[in-house]
Amino acid sequence: MISLLLRDLRLAMRAGGGFGLGLSFFLIVTVLVPFGVGPGSALLAKIAPGILWLGALLACLLSLDRIFALDWEDGSLDLLATSPLPMEGVVTVKALAHWLTTGLPLCIASPVFALLLSLPPEGYQWLILSLVLGTPALSVIGTFGAALTVGLKRGGLLLSLLVLPLYVPTLIFGAEVARRGAEGLATTTPILMLAGISAGTIALLPFASALVLRVNLR
């Protein structure tokens, strides 16, 4: 399993932009927003948590179809399915690799983007906390969507259509943590909900992902 994780990370690095692509997309969204809504820092500060969460979500979505597509095309998935690794382990590792290459860099870089959007400084910790808690769920849910659509010719668009509704609860609670934190309100409930969603999806969804992946391989 560790070898699979290391291989995926190595592939992401060698392919160039494996780590950078999501971050650049996040940056572009952040830069474009003020052009769209105006430069007033009061408005930007108000919408910053939501924009940053949407940006993280879309950056995550952008790289989902690559989770299984390459391994499907070159036959690696068939070989992995006949290997000693359990399929549940394979999808978990895939989700983890996706999070390490997309979610984690976003969490680390988010204060810079928050700065660009004039988020009040007391909101930074809450933004980072919400992303750290929420982005693993985004990766795991996205892996499920990628497993559903692997091998489909027009999989990309369908993948977004399938995954985005599943992202709703994570987005709501994640953005709510960041927003309430920035406004100095109580954040305990949304933090617990967000952590619960992440824990639940990480624990259960790999079984569904492995099931649909096996169906797609036959």
Binding site: S3, R7, D74, D78, L79, T82, L85, R218
Partner: protein
């Protein structure tokens, strides 16, 4: 007995293609599958390898005894030849890739990225992967595609060595590998249309 197939019926896209297949494979033996294109050899191999469920019948084998190799080799273009082999060795929990490099004459290419290999060299690397799996039963789907004569000989030698060590191989191929192996023509096992709905609950036949 390494592998026993009993009264196997297999389907492709909800339609049965082969039925009533019975064969077995003992350690040290190879079985060559023949039959016209599209008859269902690939489907049969995938079913035996456990990638898809049979419609009826059983495949008996020790758990985790198969190494499967099909048309695509599962290589990563940006990884070197030895990195590709090391990865599969790690996945299958075996040590060392030197014998695989030797067996398929890949030593000179070991540090070359797999993406820079020719089609035949890629195939050799794909087949070398079989050696690092350490699995006793090889299931091979047209293994000699894009191999030149010398490489086919390398491959045949690898199979012979594998059989001599007590391994077994189930191979779908059209060329003569010069192996001492039984040949099974799957053509006569083509599934015949059924009348009525008897027993085909998992298939489109149940709609008739």
């Amino acid at each position: 007995m390494t592998l026993t197939v009993k009264d196997l019926t297999i389907s492709r896209g909800g339609i049965p293609v082969l039925e009533g297949l019975n064969f077995s494979l003992e350690p040290g033996h190879a079985l060559i599958l023949r039959g016209p294109n599209g008859v269902g050899k690939t489907t049969l191999l995938r079913t035996v390898a456990g990638l898809q469920p049979p419609v009826m019948g059983e495949v008996h084998a020790a758990p985790e005894s198969f190494a499967y190799a099909a048309h695509s080799d599962g290589l990563k273009a940006t990884l070197s030849v030895s990195e590709n082999l090391h990865f599969w060795a790690d996945v299958f929990g075996t040590k060392g890739i030197q014998h695989a490099l030797d067996g398929f004459d890949l030593n000179a290419l070991a540090d070359r990225p797999a993406g820079a290999l020719s089609a035949g060299q890629k195939r050799r690397l794909g087949l070398a992967r079989l050696l690092v799996t350490g699995r006793p039963v090889w299931i091979l789907d047209e293994p000699t595609v894009s191999l030149d004569v010398a490489s086919v000989e390398l491959f045949a030698n690898a199979v012979r060595a594998h059989l001599a060590e007590g391994g077994a191989a189930l191979i779908a191929t059209h060329i003569d590998l010069g192996l001492d192996a039984e040949v099974l023509d799957v053509g006569p096992f083509r599934a015949k249309p059924k009348s009525g709905t008897g027993g085909f609950d998992g298939l489109d036949e149940s709609f008739l």
